[in-house]
């Protein structure tokens, strides 16, 4: 069945979106935190952690990709009413290009000596989704795609299919990547199947193209 068939059945909306890169943290396109000192990845993640008053010691044990996705999701869901939907109605669909290569390489280096179990457990790209699910009690669909670049058309089609064919009513969707050169970007959207009172825009390819570039 073509994706537009499902798209026509729903009217999903983007309630909120968050972007994190080496320059800043943005919420709905507006700066929340700037990396004015040009802090490196680890230091910037720590600054975000403290600025957002996050209290979760496991954060410091995560690999870079999980840290990035975790802070982005934390900011995204900060003001969310956790009980509005059942955990099984909340999905997470993420994508990136580098998979978990950054951590894979670190683990590969460690096997010359005694390999680190704590690094090994992060050698899959979807671990970041698991960390987010555990913290926010998401028990619905859980998928991680590897794509050359963020395929917005695919993401819109996939979520429309989820909203139409499963009990999914809310989804955290987007891009979370830390590559081998330590470049990083997280772009997460809080998408709901039906319109709510406060929305940023419709969950459409054109609108996402617009906000992903901001």
């Amino acid at each position: 069945m073509p994706p537009h068939y499902f798209a026509s059945m729903n009217n999903p909306v983007i309630r909120k979106y968050v972007s994190v890169d080496k320059r800043s943290v943005k919420v709905n396109g507006t700066d929340l935190l700037l990396n004015e000192q040009g802090a490196d990845f680890g230091e910037f993640m720590k600054q975000i952690y403290h600025a957002c008053s996050i209290s979760y010691l496991k954060f410091f044990k995560m690999d870079p990709q999980s840290k990035l996705g975790f802070v982005a999701a934390k900011i995204l869901l900060q003001d969310d009413d956790r009980d509005r939907f059942e955990p099984e109605e909340k999905a997470i669909v993420l994508a990136n290009s580098a998979s978990s290569l950054n951590t894979d390489e670190k683990y590969f280096e460690s096997i010359n000596d005694i390999p680190s179990p704590a690094v090994f457990v992060y050698t899959l790209p979807n671990i970041v989704a698991g960390e987010i699910c555990i913290h926010h009690n998401l028990k619905g669909e859980n998928t991680f795609f590897i794509q050359e670049e963020f395929d917005i058309q695919f993401m819109v089609s996939y979520l429309n299919i989820l909203f139409s064919t499963t009990n999914t009513r809310k989804a955290i969707a987007g891009w979370v990547e830390v590559d081998l050169d330590d470049n990083y970007r997280a772009f997460l959207m809080d998408v709901e199947k039906e319109g709510s009172s406060e929305i940023q825009g419709n969950f459409t390819v054109d609108f996402i193209h617009q906000i992903f570039k901001l």
């Binding site: 720590k46 010691l57 410091f60 044990k61 005694i114 390999p115 680190s116 179990p117 704590a118 457990v121």
Partner: protein, 84 residues
Amino acid sequence: MEELKEKLKVQLIAQLNLEDITPEDINSSDPLFGEGLGLDSIDALEIIVLLQKEYGIKIEDTKKGKEIFQSIDTLAAYITENRK
């Protein structure tokens, strides 16, 4: 033994990425798992690696792990008895 305990606290903080915890925060007799430092099963594996790397100790009988890893006190006592 006291010197070893202090060294172990520093090593655990580094190996297990225990952010915002200082050696002074760790009471040598406090449980390391569950309550106390709240370590988990992956942390237990990291401590096994630490013992092997830093003290040349291999824990052959995994059933003894629970007893050995109970606290800094028990860990230090085991290292003292078994270090090479």
